[in-house]
């Protein structure tokens, strides 16, 4: 049983190598797809085996690599949180794989890097050694750079290069932080670091602060909170659709969970409180840009950052209810954001157009996609009875003591509704899009969508609905089995006041949508769209973010 964490990393790696190897034997490409599918299902079964031991018996699987025990060797730990994120990652990856089988004829290279990406993700989740975490982060990153540039379009390559430079700078900062930790306590395993690397054990405070800031900013570039997110919209928008879903759905969350674990282990409580403010700002500011976007996938990418803001803010509040809300929203966001990305990908597949303004009346042509997109949009806007509603209510209830962050999050909710109303208009509006002279899209050119593209969408919609209907069980489960805390708060999510609140947000959001679709609103959004940070400014912002974090740590 203790070997399971190892196999979760080794099986994807081995599959990747096998795919590379059988390509030389000139086998039909269906074999590649079969191998990919069967390997992911094997991993899923392995995780299923471990469910009982980890959740009910509260066991922790520990695997020592090469037989060396913890202070000397690298060990892999699998506890409740790791089990949760590992399972989430595998499910989203499985849907991405099923979607990719029919979308385009992807070559074996795509599947090779796909599995390297999966292996890196599992490694980051499971490892208990901080340098090993760095290595897995780099494996993950290198695979994602290549996958983002896979389509070889101009913007995809540019986005991949930007991401490479920014993220490499971040990883260098992370490595510098590891250096400080090693100098301070002479240990690299997270357990040893937690025991020895704190101010009470004679580590100088300035060194502690510097190390924590460096590590958080380094990983934070991948978790995309403010001000480190400027690479994300382009990278997630121009990647192939299954990869966009995986990057948005799971990769940024895994980076955030790594921050979560490191902050918990180093017991940097002040720092955790700072995330309340960072999170609420991260929720609001990208929404303003999202409102002005016209590219379907870019709009969704901006919303990924904004939803990460909800998760981070809720993590910052630190009570058991808000931590549960954070994990619950993380779980929900993984599903509805991949649902939305797959739907957007299906629209692009069918019409070949990415621009919102050129599309209209798609409901008549592709009703199934319209319905799944509607479910995704309702979930992300927090409308009952979908899952986004539940977790947003949990988050707003737990943030009651902090008026300003909860107000920022309220505003972000309104912006979310407005921009998803804008997105839904491509399915349901009746006007002819030709009015803006944006080219001639004729509705007859729509391609038929294969069923394999629609199945993942249906499954994801069902999950979105189910996890919204049974809120208290899932919340209790997350709290008891994963966070190992009792949820003291009596859960009454579907109370009239909560539903009223969400309907208020819906009304205000639609009003905001009407405002931005006026002529003046369109001018403002055009001006906003033109104002994007360049590469140099993004790199400078990383340093500025680092300085802000260090100053904050000094002050508190």
């Amino acid at each position: 049983m203790n070997n399971i964490p190892l196999f979760l990393i080794i099986i994807p790696l081995f599959t990747a190598c096998l795919i590379l190897l059988i390509n030389f034997l000139k086998v039909p490409s269906i074999l590649t797809k079969l191998i990919s599918l069967s390997s992911i299902i094997t991993i899923l079964i392995l995780i299923g085996f471990s469910t009982l031991n980890i959740l009910i018996k509260k066991q922790i699987f520990i695997y020592n690599l090469g037989g060396w025990k913890e202070p000397l060797g690298i060990s892999l730990h699998m506890d409740g949180l790791a089990w949760f994120s590992s399972l989430l990652g595998i499910i989203i990856t499985l849907f991405g794989l099923i979607y990719s089988l029919k979308e385009k004829n992807y070559s074996f290279k795509f599947y090779f890097f796909f599995f390297i990406l999966l292996s890196g993700m599992q490694g980051v989740i499971l490892t208990n050694d901080i340098f090993n975490m760095f290595v897995f982060f780099e494996i993950l990153s290198i695979a994602s750079y290549i996958l983002i540039a896979y389509s070889r379009e101009n913007k995809a390559i540019k986005a991949s290069f930007d991401y490479l430079l920014i993220s490499s700078l971040g990883m260098s900062l992370f490595l510098l932080g590891i250096g400080f930790i090693y100098q301070g306590c002479g240990s690299l395993s997270l357990t040893g670091v937690g025991k020895n690397f704190n101010i009470a054990n004679g580590i100088p405070p300035s060194m502690f602060q510097l190390a924590v800031s460096l590590i958080v900013v380094g990983i934070g570039i991948k978790a995309a909170f403010i001000p480190l997110y400027s690479w994300l919209p382009d990278a997630h928008a121009y990647a192939p659709t299954p990869i966009s879903a995986i990057l948005s759905g799971i990769m940024i969350k895994i980076s955030f969970l790594a921050i979560w674990r490191i902050i918990h282990i180093l017991e940097a409580i002040n720092f955790q409180h700072f995330f309340l403010w960072i999170g609420s700002l991260t929720a609001l500011i990208p929404v303003i840009w999202a409102l002005s976007q016209t590219d379907i996938k870019k709009l969704l990418a901006y919303h990924s950052i904004s939803q990460m803001g909800f998760i981070i803010a809720s993590f910052g509040a630190g009570s058991s209810l808000s931590l549960t809300g954070s994990l619950y929203h993380l779980f929900n966001h993984a599903f509805f954001k991949s649902l939305l990305f797959f739907s957007a990908g299906a629209v692009i597949y069918a019409t070949g157009i990415r621009d919102l303004r050129k599309l209209s009346e798609l409901y008549k042509k592709i009703p199934s996609i319209a319905i799944t997109s509607l479910i995704g949009a309702l979930s992300i806007s927090g409308i009952p009875p979908f899952n986004g509603f539940v977790s947003k209510i949990l988050i707003t209830t737990s943030l009651k003591e902090y008026p300003l962050p909860s107000f920022l999050i309220f505003l972000a909710g309104i912006g979310t509704v407005a921009s998803f109303t804008k997105l839904m208009m491509i399915f349901f509006n009746r006007e002819k899009a030709i009015q803006e002279n944006l080219g001639n899209f004729s509705p007859n050119k729509i391609k038929k969508i294969p069923k394999a593209l629609i199945y993942p969408l249906i499954f994801l919609s069902i999950i979105c609905l189910l996890s919204g209907i049974f809120p208290s069980r899932i919340a209790q489960g997350i709290s008891n089995f994963i966070l190992l805390k009792d949820l003291a708060y009596p859960l009454k999510v579907y109370s009239p006041s909560n539903i009223g609140k969400s309907l208020t947000i819906l009304g205000l959001g639609i009003f905001l949508y009407l405002l931005i679709s006026t002529k003046r609103g369109k001018q403002i959004s055009l001006a906003l769209r033109k104002r994007e940070l360049g590469l140099n400014n993004s790199l400078l912002l990383v340093l500025a973010g680092l300085v802000v974090f260090i100053i904050f740590m000094k002050v508190l």
């Binding site: 080794i10 081995f14 590379l20 030389f24 090469g66 037989g67």
Partner: protein, 143 residues
């Protein structure tokens, strides 16, 4: 790269030098567990030797001797072997990449246990990888 003027001296010297560079790479691989060196360093030196051959004799001649497909196959094969060796270690010695050979005295090369084998696999893989990177930057791969 292949059209530039090549001087006779560079060509001859590099031709004489390449076998020694390759030998040094193999030395680094095989003595990696006793002296400085190891799979990665040796592999990079091996790759650098072939790259020197490319630079001095043109990429056409080099690719005749070391065809792209075979190098790519070598790389994929070696990494698969590496993971298989790890799994063999897991089955026999109860830990991933665990040693399955008897350990003898230090300073004897063939009895370094598993490490020598792993170094060899890694070295060949890295060497092949470096050559592949070079070939694909020269855009030989897109035919």
């Amino acid at each position: 790269m292949e059209k530039g003027e090549r001087s006779e001296i560079v060509s001859i010297i590099s031709r004489k030098l390449v076998p020694y560079i390759l030998l040094f790479g193999l030395y680094l691989i095989s003595y990696g567990h006793l002296s400085p060196g190891g799979g990665f360093q040796g592999g990079v030196v091996l790759g650098a030797g072939i790259i020197l051959l490319c630079l001095s004799h043109g990429i056409f001649l080099t690719e005749k001797k070391f065809p792209l497909e075979k190098i790519a196959f070598l790389e994929a094969f070696m990494i698969t072997i590496f993971i298989l060796l790890g799994i063999v270690g897991l089955i026999i010695a109860k830990s991933f990449l665990g040693n399955i050979f008897p350990l003898k005295k230090i300073e004897e090369v063939p009895t370094a246990g598993f490490v020598f084998l792993l170094n060899l696999v890694i070295g060949l893989k890295v060497g092949a990888g470096i050559i592949l990177i070079f070939y694909s930057l020269c855009e030989r791969s897109e035919k």
